[in-house]
Symmetry: C2
Subunit: 420 residues, 2 copies
């Protein structure tokens, strides 16, 4: 007799794919995220730090629960993708559009400095600094990639930290979120340029301007049209009789607008954020927000655990050959990355505390930095060693921001006690 259990176990298994193992991995990710998240909170750190650490522990270089490739890895990545979309959607829902306009110029300044300065620092270090193996490729091209990686801001990580600290409503948070969203628009432009350079294409001003216009145009158009149509649409939906109808339509709206953003040449998370801004103008806003939160809460751990899973602990082992070089490069890049973003906080016309909060909030590179680094590695512009160093930089900036923000708020503001 053939082994029948996996067949019966579900239709997907009939395709020869083992769903049971994937579900065990998903359950393990959820449990790990919450256990370490709770531990992080108990020692006074934001929960997201614990979720990232859970990813490191479950990742290929430690316990090896997370799949390294194949269908399962891609499935988890897309789940995480949906998680970050729902997170940005939730943040968009909580964002007051008028407040956003009020802090707009400040956010723009912070974003601009936070992109230009890290890029220049990264580029200059690599192109002119006293160092190390370039991997045989084009030195200037590698320098551009390294600079580009340092420009990224992971709005997902920062937003979660601010949420964990109960600070999402504060003015600093709005500036950070606004700057991070603008950063994504700028990142899109930079990515167009570096992808083109990596593919050997020339650089045209028209192409750059077009990418920029599309990215900005989508956000503006979606919010303007959406704010006008969505209230009427959701009044109709609200009268439907089927269960969970508001929740399901809201999530479909977020997924759809994210996808449209990507199709239109903008970024998914910009579409998700726009969806939240749009639905914050509906009459059903309170119900939608209340019901989206638990769903987002189930999806987001897959994102943070996945991001953490990218850190290869072996890179931190000083006895590996070439480890000193990699660790040195990573240390310098991390320092430059932190300095560049923290300095961007000074574009906000404020006291030192708030400038620091905004600057530190921009530090995590997260998944956005990973994408840049990965393109560099694939196109051969970055050698494996340099890619490893850039990866360490991305992770270090991601891991350093949550405790730093927590410490800042604990000092500058009265600490809040959080319930479960």
């Amino acid at each position: 007799m053939v082994a029948p259990a996996p067949l019966w176990a579900g239709a997907a298994a009939a395709e020869g794919h083992d769903v049971a193992h994937l579900l065990l991995v998903l359950a393990g990710m959820l449990v790990g995220a919450k256990l370490l998240g709770d531990l992080a909170e108990r020692i006074g750190q934001p929960a997201v730090l614990g979720e990232l650490l859970a990813g490191v522990l479950l990742g290929p270089s430690a316990l090896g629960l997370l799949p390294g490739g194949g269908f399962d890895a891609e499935f988890i990545r897309v789940l995480g993708e949906i998680g970050v979309i729902l997170l940005l959607f939730e943040i968009g829902l909580e964002t007051d559009l008028r407040e956003m306009f009020r802090v707009g110029p400040t956010s723009l300044g912070v974003a601009a400095v936070g992109v230009v300065l890290p890029f220049v620092l990264g580029f200059a270090y690599w192109a002119y600094g006293p160092h190390v193996p370039s991997g045989g490729g084009d030195l200037h091209l590698a320098a551009i990639f390294i600079g580009a990686t340092l420009t990224a801001t992971s709005v997902g990580i920062t937003a979660r930290v601010l949420g964990d600290l109960g600070q999402l409503g504060s003015k600093e948070s709005r500036i950070i979120i606004g700057a991070a969203v603008i950063d994504d628009v700028l990142g899109l432009v930079i990515l167009t340029v570096v992808s083109g350079l990596a593919a050997g294409a020339g650089l045209t001003l028209l192409g750059v301007a077009k990418t920029f216009a599309v990215a900005v145009g989508f956000l503006v158009a979606a919010v303007m049209i959406g704010r006008f149509l969505a209230p009427q649409l959701f009044n109709v939906i609200d009268r439907m009789r089927v269960r969970h109808v508001l929740l399901v339509f809201a999530i479909a709206f977020a997924l759809g607008l994210s996808a449209l953003a990507a199709v239109a040449g903008s970024a998914m998370i910009i579409g998700a954020f726009a969806a939240g801004l749009v639905l914050s103008g509906t009459n059903q806003f309170d119900t939608i927000e209340e019901r989206v939160k638990p769903v987002a809460g189930v999806f987001t751990p897959f994102f943070f655990v996945s991001v953490g899973g990218n850190l290869d602990l072996g890179l931190l082992n000083p006895s590996r050959p070439g480890a000193t070089t990699i660790l040195t490069i990573a240390a310098v890049l991390t320092l430059l990355g932190i300095v560049g973003k923290v300095a961007a906080g000074w574009a906000a016309p404020w006291d030192r505390f708030r400038r620091l909060v905004v600057g530190v909030g921009m530090v995590p590179r997260g998944e956005v930095g990973l994408i840049f680094a990965e393109i560099g590695r694939r196109s051969g512009v970055l050698s494996n060693e340099v890619f490893g160093a850039v990866l360490l930089t991305v992770m270090a900036t991601t891991f350093v921001a949550p405790p730093a923000l927590k410490a800042l708020f604990a000092r500058g503001r009265p600490a809040r006690e959080e319930g479960p």
Copy 2:
């Protein structure tokens, strides 16, 4: 310049896979499910019928939104799999274990008749009936497969219908759910046998007994151990500080127990149901149930829309060559399938109304019947024509039960008005 948008659009896209398109499909499935679900309710039918129809409309033979294969199809299938797991988990949560024991013998009788009678009818029709092309294969083997397909009960479909009608708490519902779960255990045994036969293996009584013992043993052991340990475990979890901790652990518990069930040689949905039964004994039961419902509400449409998407409307076209044969076989099998299951209701010691409700509730074959049919097709036991006819039978029994149950309850009981 290379087109950069999909790259930036997310880490998954960096793997060359277009997440944006997948998200559009997911959004379309959610919107379609709720629109047609609402329409179904407005014309007095259960919402799940609309969700199944949405699948037919979005499926490959009509609008073609649903992917026919590849990563996206598999992704949606696994999402649907999680949906049916969460649905059975929810039903387990709502099930009173003592009530379950009280109706146990009745459920057992209903399940036994509902497996034996459809099998005998299907087998006899195929092996001895006056008919049609056997596809050149072994006639008795094909007859066994056809009989086996008719034994299946889709607890997911029936449970959703009962839920849509607000009848999940009724005694008939408990008997149906109990019988459907027992049916899954028996189905597991049958699947072992037919898979073995399809692979050319002999039939051993020991093998059958072993499969049966494992399937039953897992359910009993999981519930017994779980009811003892889970209350203490969830008291600890309840004291954790991180957000959504009860919800996330409950879902991890359901996914984990489903996976373990499959690994242990039982069925995933049995594990999911057991997880619900176990957590219904915790002190945090109310909170868990309230928070799991919206999450399940987001996942389950993927299941029902997927099931609907399996119906090829072309099979219904009478002008196709061989269509009359296929439609005739399908009509006979559907009739036998309905008669066999409805007769099973008479194993319940009751009045005619309740017997009918129980019997009709067992009629939908849903995804479970699809699995049997698919194995038959793959192994060459069923020809493509016969497979088409069996597929139509599965879909017809699935589509006929929701309106029939609705009509029964409307006549036998005072109709309930349902809010949104």
